[in-house]
Structure formats: structure tokens, C-alpha cells
């Protein structure tokens, strides 16, 4: 009895470990459970252009750190002949390019992939915008005071004050005060943002400047959209300068925070930075792998995905064998199907995977039946076993070549895949079948032959199942669960389905 409990504990442990790792990969690493799931990867490319002035050039670009729910991957800076470093300046990350004696038109690229990742939390930047003061006439200061007072009175907290101020600046019929400020200071969205930030800072509102990008596929040469974040009710809230408060939706990517300039360029002229955005829709698994890359998740360093593509494809097939074995175990232990050779059906199923089912079955039948005919002649020749099997093997190869050539002539391309049949196994199958034929008669040949074929077809169906293919490859630990299940079935001492038929006559009689 204790061994029985050991089996239970052991197999459930295996299944538990497998399901645990799968759950971890799905929930934490973002692997999808099914192959169909798709995810967007946004490639954002910053293109810095400038003209060299034959002086030493130094370019510094503010870099993003990601935001809550959006993580950054595959960061790359392509900049021929430039020295590139990433540096921390006043708590912000900047990419810095340097080169001596630059002349002519220059272009630098910096690109990242952005992936939506619910669990991602970026390093928080708590620094508030530095105060900036505007030299202004008393009339304008007065006007600003009016606007501020108005916004202050029409609001309950910092966030609603910011909203109300943005609203005031976006009215169709502006008040006189706003008209005056607009005319004097506001020539762009950025000016509007800076002015509103300045006014709000007067009211001791905690806020910071933000440069964001709208994630729209195919956008080229766009600039950062000036926005701001207001700290209220314990969190940062994002404001659009025209629309007011916006949800920090998944369509916005914050490139830069704080008052520092986006681009600093020394020793060059006409410097500018533009952004292009491309969306690619990848399978969720590949997205999870991009996230897992870069050694961030050491767990994935030991996954099959680190292998070269070619070996990955081999393993894809290898990993399906246990699934086929499980099918055979079920068929033999629970159903009671007779097969000739325990795992011959799996090898047959793997051949079917290459040839497709129907052509595979036809080819199998042709090879085996032709082989049986030839073998019946060989049995008259009185050969030693090894020689005879080898003769059958050569015949099998010959038949396969014949089928391939004939079928090709007839325009059936699939038939060339016949080479995937396991020849030696087929030769043995023919040998065994012919012995069974001689000893037990045709009916036993048909029973075992059709049993093997049936088992092979079932194994084929299971092994070509998309979910199984996806699981074994994406979650190789799933095989531990298969192992646990097989161990469990290995202790099944109940009746087989075939026995319910075999012993049925006894029930009637008694």
C-alpha cells in the first residue's frame, strides 16, 4: 500500500510542479496559454538630425524609462563612428553621442520596443519640475492672476484646478486675460503647456512636465507631445493640453519627464529629433520571449528558446514523442488495443506528420503489403534471420524509391516525403507480420496490423494537435505532467475496455 501512496504523491508532485511552472510562465512572464494570442510590440525610433560644424559634436538625448504597464526592450543606438554612452544626469537617463570634428549632415538613431506589460513598474521619478520664471509685464501678471484665481475658485483640488485651467485656455471665446497671454506667449502646444505649468506652480501644485508619444502605427517624424502630470490623491494624473485630463491610456508612451531638455546638442547646428512609430503584431509567446531576453529573466536562459532555430525545430518534434507515448499507454492500458511493437505506432505517427495522414496511411499499406508478398517468397530461400531482415530492408527501400518516382511522375508531390518512414522498423514489422501470418493466420495479422495503424493514427492526431504542439514546445515542463500521468496510469489495475467485451459472455451466462 505504501508504494501506492508513493506513486500518488510522486505523480501528483510532478503534475503540480509542471502546472506551477506553467502558471508562473503564464501569469508572471506573460506566456500565452494558447498559440492564437497576439500582442502588439511598438517600435519607437528616435531620429536625431543635425549638421556638423567641424567641431567636436556632443549630442545628448533624454531616454525613456518605461511607464507603469509598459516595458522597454531591445534598446539599440545605431550611430556609426560615434561614441555612445548611457548616462545618468540629475536622476534622468540620457543617451550621449560624441565625435570629434563632425561635418556635414548627420543622423543618429535610437530605437526601442515597447510592450504592454501589466506587471511592469518603472523606477519612479519623483523630481518635480524646476521653477522657471517668465519676465512679464505687470499687465500680463495681472491677467495671469485673474486666470489663476478663476481656476482656483472653480475647482476642489489640484487635479480639477489643472483641468479647469486647461479648459479655460481652450474656450472658443477667450476671456480678455487669456487672449492677452495667448498672444504674448503661446505659439505652440509646448508654450501652452509651459505656461499652464508655470501658473499652476504659482499655486503650489505638484506637477511635472511630460513628453509623450501617441502609439499609432505608421506615424513618422512626429515630435513629443507636450503634456503634464499633476500629483493629486496620491498619484500622478496625466493632462493633455487640449483635452484636459486623460487616462494614461495604453495608446500613450511617456518618453520624457521633467524640465530638462529633450535634446542637447553641442558643437553642431540645426539639431532636431523626430520619432517614428511602427506596430508589429507578434504571437504573445514571442512577445514574452522578447521580455525574457536580455537576461532579465534568468529562468528563460535555460529554456529551449535559446537554442539555434534548427535545433529548436528538432526539439519541437522530439517533445511530441512523450505525448504520443501517453496516447499509446492510454490505448494499451485503458482500451487494450494490440499493436505489433510497443512504440512502432509512434514512429509511424511521426512519419505521418511528415507525409500527411492519408498519403502516409496509403504508403504504409502499400509498403507493408508489398513487403509481405516479397517476404513470402524469401521464406522459401531458407535464409538466416539477419540476412532475411536485411533483404526485406532493401526491398522496403526499393519499394519506397519506386513509390516516390511513380508518384512524382504522376504529379503527386507528397509521395517524396516517403523517405520519412522508419525503414528498419517497417522491415521488422513486415518480418513479424509474416511470422504471425504463418503461425496465427491472417486474422491475427489484420488484428495487430490494424491495431498498430489505429494507434498510429490516434498518436498522429494527438501529436499534430495544435494545443499539444504549442504546450510541449512553449512549456516543456508540461512533459513532467505527462510523466506524472503515465506513472499514475501505470498503477491502474482496473479492467480494460477490451476486457469488458472479452468477458461479456460470462455475465450473460451466470
Amino acid at each position: 500500500m505504501t508504494s501506492r501512496y508513493q506513486i500518488y504523491i510522486f505523480s501528483f508532485l510532478l503534475m503540480g510542479i509542471a502546472l506551477g511552472i506553467m502558471a508562473y510562465k503564464i501569469n508572471i512572464l506573460g506566456f500565452p496559454l494558447f498559440s492564437g494570442e497576439k500582442k502588439s510590440v511598438w517600435n519607437i525610433e528616435a531620429k536625431v538630425t543635425f549638421k556638423g560644424t567641424k567641431e567636436n559634436a556632443f549630442i545628448s538625448l533624454a531616454l525613456p524609462v518605461g511607464q507603469r504597464g509598459m516595458s522597454i526592450h531591445n534598446e539599440s543606438a545605431s550611430s556609426p563612428n560615434y561614441g555612445y554612452t548611457k548616462a545618468q544626469r540629475d536622476g534622468y537617463t540620457r543617451g550621449e553621442w560624441a565625435k570629434r570634428k563632425v561635418s556635414g549632415k548627420q543622423t543618429l538613431y535610437y530605437s526601442i520596443d515597447v510592450i504592454r506589460d501589466e506587471s511592469y513598474v518603472p523606477p519612479e521619478q519623483e523630481e518635480y519640475a524646476k521653477k522657471s520664471s517668465i519676465e512679464a509685464s505687470s499687465a500680463i501678471i495681472q491677467a495671469a492672476d485673474v486666470i489663476m484665481q478663476d481656476a482656483y475658485e472653480h475647482s476642489a483640488d489640484d487635479a480639477s484646478m489643472a483641468a479647469s485651467m486647461i479648459f479655460a485656455f481652450n474656450q472658443e471665446d477667450d476671456s480678455q486675460a487669456i487672449e492677452m497671454l495667448k498672444r504674448k506667449y503661446i505659439h505652440s502646444e509646448k508654450d501652452l503647456r509651459d505656461l499652464i505649468v508655470m501658473l499652476l506652480e504659482e499655486k503650489k501644485v505638484n506637477l511635472r512636465r511630460v513628453g509623450a508619444l501617441e502609439l499609432i502605427d505608421g506615424h513618422k517624424n512626429v515630435s513629443l507631445k507636450p503634456m503634464m502630470e499633476v500629483y493629486d490623491k496620491g498619484k500622478w494624473q496625466l493632462f493633455d493640453m487640449y483635452k484636459g485630463k486623460v487616462d494614461k491610456s495604453d495608446r500613450l508612451f511617456i518618453w520624457q519627464r521633467g524640465a530638462a531638455s529633450l535634446l542637447d546638442a553641442e558643437g553642431v547646428k540645426d539639431s532636431d529629433v523626430h520619432f517614428s512609430i511602427t506596430e508589429s503584431v507578434l504571437s504573445a509567446r514571442n512577445v514574452a520571449l522578447i521580455k525574457g531576453d536580455e537576461g532579465q529573466i534568468s529562468f528563460l536562459d535555460f529554456s529551449l528558446f535559446i537554442l539555434p532555430n534548427e535545433s529548436q525545430n528538432t526539439f519541437k518534434r522530439l517533445l511530441l514523442i512523450p505525448i504520443g507515448a501517453l496516447a499509446i499507454v492510454l490505448l494499451r492500458v485503458l482500451i487494450g488495443i494490440k499493436t505489433s511493437g510497443t512504440f512502432m505506432p509512434i514512429l509511424l505517427a511521426m512519419a505521418f506528420m511528415q507525409t500527411e495522414l492519408v498519403p502516409g496511411v496509403v504508403m504504409f499499406l502499400v509498403i507493408v503489403s508489398t513487403g509481405l508478398i516479397v517476404r513470402s517468397y524469401l521464406s522459401h530461400l531458407n535464409l538466416l534471420l539477419v540476412a532475411r531482415i536485411s533483404a526485406v530492408l532493401i526491398i522496403v527501400v526499393g519499394i519506397m524509391a519506386m513509390i516516390a518516382i511513380l508518384a512524382y511522375k504522376m504529379g503527386i508531390q507528397d509521395a517524396v516525403n516517403i523517405t520519412f518512414f522508419p525503414m528498419i522498423i517497417l522491415a521488422w514489422t513486415i518480418e513479424r507480420m509474416s511470422i504471425i501470418w504463418e503461425e496465427d493466420g491472417v486474422s491475427e495479422v489484420l488484428t495487430q496490423g490494424s491495431g498498430s495503424l489505429f494507434a498510429a493514427i490516434i498518436a498522429y492526431v494527438v501529436m499534430t494537435n495544435e494545443i499539444m504542439q504549442f504546450w510541449t514546445y512553449t512549456f516543456p515542463e508540461f512533459l513532467l505532467a505527462v510523466l506524472g500521468l503515465i506513472i499514475l496510469i501505470g498503477r491502474y489495475s482496473g479492467y480494460r475496455l477490451s476486457e469488458l467485451y472479452r468477458f461479456a459472455s460470462m455475465v450473460k451466462r451466470s
Binding site: 492500458v333 487494450g336 531458407n382 538466416l384 534471420l385 539477419v386 511470422i435 503461425e439 496465427d440 493466420g441 491475427e444 498503477r491 491502474y492 489495475s493 482496473g494 479492467y495 480494460r496 475496455l497 476486457e499 469488458l500 467485451y501 472479452r502 468477458f503 461479456a504 459472455s505 460470462m506 455475465v507 450473460k508 451466462r509 451466470s510
Partner: protein, 318 residues
């Protein structure tokens, strides 16, 4: 096609293949003793050592080179049997009833040349009939002349008695009668008739062919219920002795009755089939469980055989 409910089979105490493998064979048959029964040459030597009766071994052939001398080993002008030491399920057994000049006559009347015999032996040696295709040994045995009692009951082949011995107790028995369909072989799935034999009396209970009940032998037409096996207690004793010899707790013992020499141990099987239950119209489990309860109370094989004789007559109830 009709299926039985598992609960009905359980009520009848039927032993299934999975339960046999897990609960009986792997528990009571130690792997290390398997070669004793899987290799018939070793079985023969063991039987000799224990002084039990078995068909005489003329000799054996182990290497292809020895085949050419095969006729020197075989007795002149008599029948004989060639079997692979590691064959299973009766595969590769060649029975020669008599010789006519250069020809060897099979029970079916088919004639075989010396070449045919040698080819068969060569096949055996190269492992054609052995499990996993391993090299094998061919045994040359004396042909059994079976007891006249069975003359009407068998077609061409030698009828044998299969006794299931559990922990030394004979639990169930059947006689296997060859038919024309089974090609003279006493193999149930090849079409031999299985006759359930009452352990207490040695008389027929019921008979099946291809899992279906039969009343008469399909070839000879004899009423199978009239079958009664002589020397019954001797047969059970031989079966029980096989346990002491092999230490296999779940054992199939095949016994033949020779006209001159009586009960002889033909073969042992560490994985006996389940068809015996159909021939006996009852399951094995109730008897096996009964034995589990009393196994320690009997000291030797006489006591065990006596227990079986007194308790396993008719249908065993819970």
C-alpha cells in the same frame, strides 16, 4: 458488440490484465526468477534437479554450425518436437509425428524435408521466435504420446492441462484441446478449445472456443462435458511442486499426460493468460483472495494441494 459493466465483472471476481500485471505478477513473481521459466532449457534442467517428470530432452542446438548434425541427435524413425528455448505463446514449436523415408510428417499430415527441419532450427537460433529477437537455442524433445483417454478430445495435437498456481496452491485448471482451426496447437487464441476443469474432481465444467461456449469438440464431435482427467491429484501435486521449484507466486503450469509415463511437466509460464476464467465460467479473484487469507497456515505442498482439492470445487463464493 456487447460490453459488460465493470461492476458485473467485479461481482464475478474476474481478474483483468492490468490487475494481473500489477497485483499478482509484479508482486509475487520476482524478476530474477523469470529466466527459469522463460528459458525452457533452464526449466528442463531445473525440473531434472528437482526430480520431477518432464518429456525427455534429446539434446539442444545452440550454434548454426551444429545444425548439420541434427539428425545424429534425433532418434531414428520416431517423432520428435523442436521448440525454441525462449519462444512465447507456442510460437516456433515444430511437431513431427513420424518419419517416412526422408520425409518428416507433421500432425496435419504435411510433409517436411530435412532442409525444412534445418531451416526451422536455423530460424529458432537466429531469434525469430524469441522475445525481442534475441539469439535462441533449439530444444529437441521426445514426442509425447498422449493418454488414450483423450483420443476423442483432441484433433491432431497434444492436449495439455493448464493449472494456475498461486503461492503454491492450484487455483484453477483447464484442459486445452487442439482443433483443426488451431492447426493442432493447444493455443486458445488460435482456436483451441478450452475446457474448465473442476479442481476438486478433475471433471469438465464447461468449454469455450474463441471465447464462446461450446458443447462438443468441433472436429471429433465428442461431448466435452464427459471429459474427466485421470491421475488428477498427481497433476495438482506436480503443479504445486512447480511453485517450490521456481518461487514464482503466480504461475501457469502446463502438464501433459503421457501414455506410459503419466503426468509430465511440459512448460511453465510466469505470465499465464486470463482465458482460463472464461473456460471455468468464473473469475480467479475470489480464490486468490481466499488463498491470501490462509497462505500462512499450510506448511508443505501436500497441505496446499489438499486445501485446493477441498475448497475449490464448483463455484467459489465470497
Amino acid at each position: 458488440m456487447k460490453l459488460a459493466f465493470p461492476s458485473e465483472l467485479r461481482r464475478l471476481g474476474l481478474l483483468g490484465m492490468n490487475a494481473r500485471n500489477i497485483n499478482y505478477i509484479s508482486r509475487y513473481n520476482d524478476r530474477s526468477f523469470f529466466p527459469l521459466v522463460d528459458n525452457k532449457l533452464k526449466t528442463k534442467q531445473l525440473i531434472k534437479k528437482h526430480g520431477l517428470q518432464a518429456p525427455e530432452l534429446y539434446g539442444y542446438i545452440q550454434y548454426q554450425g551444429e545444425i548439420k548434425n541434427i539428425l545424429d541427435v534425433l532418434p531414428k524413425g520416431k517423432g520428435f518436437v523442436i521448440k525454441p528455448a525462449r519462444g512465447s505463446g507456442g510460437k516456433g514449436i515444430l511437431v513431427i509425428n513420424s518419419r517416412e523415408g526422408d520425409c518428416f510428417i507433421k500432425p496435419s499430415g504435411e510433409k517436411l524435408t530435412e532442409q525444412g527441419i534445418k531451416r526451422h532450427v536455423s530460424n529458432i537460433l537466429s531469434g525469430l521466435y524469441s522475445l525481442g529477437g534475441k539469439d535462441d537455442i533449439a530444444l529437441l524433445e521426445r514426442l509425447i504420446t498422449f493418454d488414450k483417454v483423450f483420443e476423442k478430445f483432441s484433433f491432431e495435437g497434444v492436449p495439455d492441462i493448464r493449472v494456475i498456481v498461486y503461492r503454491g496452491y492450484p487455483v484453477m485448471a483447464m484442459m486445452r484441446l487442439s482443433t483443426s482451426e488451431s492447426d493442432g496447437k493447444a493455443n486458445l487464441h488460435q482456436g483451441a478449445v478450452g475446457v474448465g476443469i473442476d479442481i476438486a474432481t478433475g471433471k469438465a465444467i464447461s468449454a469455450v472456443q474463441f471465447n464462446r461456449p461450446v458443447e462438443q469438440h468441433p472436429d471429433t464431435g465428442v461431448n466435452l462435458s464427459t471429459l474427466e482427467i485421470p491421475h488428477w491429484s498427481k497433476i495438482l501435486d506436480l503443479a504445486s511442486a512447480s511453485y517450490d521449484m521456481t518461487n514464482l507466486g503466480y504461475l501457469g503450469v502446463d502438464i501433459v499426460l503421457d501414455e506410459e509415463k503419466g503426468a509430465m511437466l511440459l512448460e511453465l509460464n510466469a505470465r499465464p493468460g486470463l482465458a482460463i476464467q472464461i473456460a471455468n465460467e468464473q473469475g480467479l479473484l475470489k480464490r486468490l483472495k481466499w488463498i491470501d487469507k490462509v497462505a500462512d497456515t499450510h506448511q508443505n505442498r501436500d497441505e496446499r494441494t489438499n486445501f485446493s482439492l477441498t475448497h475449490f470445487g464448483g463455484v467459489t463464493e465470497d
